[in-house]
Point group: C2
Chain length 194, copies 2
């Protein structure tokens, strides 16, 4: 192997889900499909690196700033969905369940990793709630210790605003089997039964 | 999601080992590590696409043609190792077991997939054996039906040359446990016991 190939294999091996072995497979696959895959992929990467930026308003990734969700007049500005990460925003968008606006925190509070309130997009969240006539804030954070701590922190900060603060329901995932669920999920699903 | 992001996610999802979900994770990871990973990766891909070509002599992938193995005077030109694919050549190089030269077929004969002798780098193999004073040809092809058919075909073609034709030994992989082995492997290992 040569320098260019070595370097490419090394960098591909750093991507999530790929290791040294699969990185080599990817390199060979790319070289085999140079016209149909390799060159278009380079172009798409180039475009993405050059054009995609973080929306200064909500924290989404987009070629526009503010992003197309923030500028879409058909979306309901009265409901603000707070998510941890852009991946969560994309997941909610794919589910077509929500037609309001988003606010991406960029992480969760974590004493262990030293992530404090000022490291997250929290000040701009409070400002948006104060200025944008928001009536409901949905705290769509993960059901982890950090996610719930962060949700609690935000709920406290927003208490004085007199708006509805909601969280996603806990329970069995749709299609989930009982005997694969952990105790916490079973307990939450039982307590929230209706 | 936008066009540039959509296109990149779509193309990444076509890579071996990645699907739509992991492609999205890769895109977000790249955008988070723009300076340290995304931009160097684009550069390495660009370099690879521009510089790496197939060695016209042996079929290896390299920035040089003929490649560094073909031009390395310290390697033994009397032993030629025939492999199916560049991945196999790389695997043998990593094991440091072989110091001769290679010939990459670019596939195996397959009636099912319609791969005939003229679709492989076979004519140049016969020519190399005839012209390069080769004394041994190692048929390092996979222990599959296609690999063994191809090895048999090549061995027949080379019979008249009066050179040694060898194949890799079959048996238990080092570290392999008996009860995980298929019948064919166990049989081969038994018959080749020493």
């Amino acid at each position: 192997m040569q320098n260019a190939l070595d370097r490419l294999t090394h960098l591909l091996g750093k991507l999530p889900g790929l290791g040294p072995r699969s990185a080599r497979r990817v390199v060979l696959h790319l070289l085999k499909k140079k016209e149909s895959l390799f060159l278009p992929l380079i172009e798409a990467m180039h475009d993405t690196a050059a054009m995609v930026k973080t929306c200064s308003h909500c924290g989404n990734l987009s070629v526009m700033d503010p992003c197309e969700i923030c500028t879409d007049a058909r979306r309901d500005g009265a409901v603000l969905c707070v998510v941890e990460d852009v991946a969560d925003l994309w997941a909610l968008e794919r589910s077509h369940v929500f037609r309001g606006r988003y606010h991406v925190l960029g992480g969760t509070l974590s004493a262990l990793d030293g992530i404090r309130p000022e490291d997250l997009r929290l000040a701009s969240l409070l400002q948006r709630v104060a200025c944008e006539n928001v009536q409901e804030v949905i705290l769509a954070l993960g059901a982890t210790l950090e996610g719930q701590t962060t949700a609690h922190y935000i709920a406290e900060k927003l208490q004085a605003e007199g708006i509805a603060i909601t969280r996603l329901a806990h329970g069995l995932p749709v299609g989930g089997e009982l005997d694969y669920m952990d105790d916490g999920t079973l307990k939450a699903a039982f307590q929230a039964r209706k």
